[in-house]
């Protein structure tokens, strides 16, 4: 692995590289926090393709940055009452299982197959793009079918939209498909170091009838647990490049603080197109890396 800047050559080279990585993670983390995905899906291609880091090291660093991002913005969303804590904890039960399996697969069977990991990134990015192309459900469907299981868990709530002041009552439905999809999100998170929000948000919003803002806040809350489990697996396996992980975690944390305080002002349509553009480029470059032409 040859880095474009050698951080061991001088103090200014080290400080400059730390700041550059933190600035990139700040941008990824603020966008990721606004749309509830953590930002790893942007960060990993940049670290691998732009800086030449091995994909395992990029994944481990990304997982720690997702933890930092989740802690920073989830604290604000929890305080604002946007996060549905009961829903988040219920869905975590499948996400952590997926996260453990994904991380174990990555550090064992795929540890020496970087091209496979790069290729595995492509369908994840394609699915994320397809899900983002679907128009999000801004308001819950009042005629959604009742789920006795979800009723028993009391997964419903009322969101007061701060922009309009309107109360929006919602009733979470279809807990089983929701659990399955968020389990897949956990698997993707553990395997590839992404936050998993690219599956969590559509699962809660489109499948479980949860308003978009609550889905985004709840996704941000729950991705921290999955990412922390994954980060520990990589750290225990000896795949953590600490100065890289620290730099991106700090940038992502700062980005999450900024984004979570300005979530209501964000133009979600513009963000969605930005997100799609970055994902398309990342998918193409990672595919090229996977087949060895880049």
């Amino acid at each position: 692995m040859t880095l474009p800047i050698d951080p061991g050559s001088a103090w200014w080279a080290a400080a400059g590289l730390f700041l550059l990585l933190a600035a990139i993670a700040f941008a990824c983390g603020s966008v990721g926090s606004l749309i509830g995905i953590g930002g790893g899906v942007f960060l990993i291609p940049i670290l691998v393709l732009g800086f030449g880091f091995e994909i395992q090291l990029a994944i481990a660093a990304s997982l720690l940055s997702v933890v930092a991002n989740s802690c920073g913005s989830a604290a604000t969303y929890v305080e604002q009452g946007l996060t549905n804590l009961r829903l988040g904890i219920f869905l975590e039960s499948s996400t952590v299982v997926g996260g453990l399996l994904g991380a174990l697969l990555s550090v064992t069977l795929l540890a020496t197959r970087q091209n496979l990991l790069a290729l595995a990134f492509v369908p994840v990015v394609a699915i994320a793009a397809a899900l983002m192309l679907r128009a999000p459900r801004l308001a819950p469907d009042p005629n959604a079918p009742k789920s006795p299981f979800a009723e028993r868990l009391r997964l419903s709530g009322t969101l007061v939209d701060p922009t309009t002041g309107a109360s929006i009552a919602y009733r979470a439905t279809r807990p089983a498909p929701g659990l399955l999809l968020t389990g897949l999100a956990g698997f993707g998170s553990g395997l590839l170091g992404v936050g998993g929000g690219i599956f969590n948000v559509p699962a809660m919003n489109a499948v479980m009838n949860v308003p978009l803002r609550v889905a985004t806040a709840t996704s941000t809350f729950k991705i921290g647990v999955t990412a922390s489990a994954g980060a520990l697996v990589y750290f225990l396996a000896g795949d953590m490049l600490l100065w890289l992980a620290a730099s991106v975690a700090l940038g992502s944390f700062a980005g999450s603080l900024l984004a979570s305080h300005h979530q209501y002002r964000a133009r979600t349509l513009a963000l969605r197109w930005l997100f799609l553009g970055v994902l398309a480029v990342a998918a193409l470059l990672m595919a090229a890396r996977g087949v060895g032409v880049y």
Binding site: G8, A15, V67, E79, A229, L241, L242
Partner: protein
């Protein structure tokens, strides 16, 4: 910064849990971030990492060394551990609150999450 009132209706358990989770996430992330900033500052001041591409393995001895002989790398180890344990600590907190409230379905869910997290650490140590 002004604290916004909760914007969703919720039950008594969630009302108790919400400020505790908020505090846990804020304090844990603040401590972790301060340690990471200090670690990177020490590394920069000492001319950068001694082994720029050398990875670290988390172990009890690595944590002990970080505590007993503070260094740039040691501060980064502690910061990464504190940060990684912060979301886990709010799972412990939720389990305790649901247990006291005798909220069996959510107690089962949070206990299961906690068990898987412990299993993750055990598997990570022995894998």
């Amino acid at each position: 910064m002004a604290t916004s009132p909760p914007t969703s209706t919720e039950d008594a358990t969630e009302t108790r849990l919400r400020p505790a989770v908020h505090r846990t996430l804020r304090v844990g992330s603040a401590v972790g971030v301060v340690l990471l900033i200090a670690g990177l500052a020490v590394l920069s001041a000492s001319g950068g990492p001694s082994s720029p591409t050398g990875t670290s393995r988390l172990s009890a001895s690595a944590i002990r060394a970080a505590l007993l002989q503070p260094s740039g790398d040691g501060l980064l180890v502690l910061g990464a551990v504190v940060l990684a344990l912060t979301p886990m600590s709010r799972v412990v907190l939720a389990t305790s609150v649901f247990s006291r409230a005798r909220d069996r379905p959510l107690l089962a869910a949070s206990s299961f999450v906690l068990a898987i997290l412990v299993l993750t650490v055990v598997v990570g140590v022995f894998a």
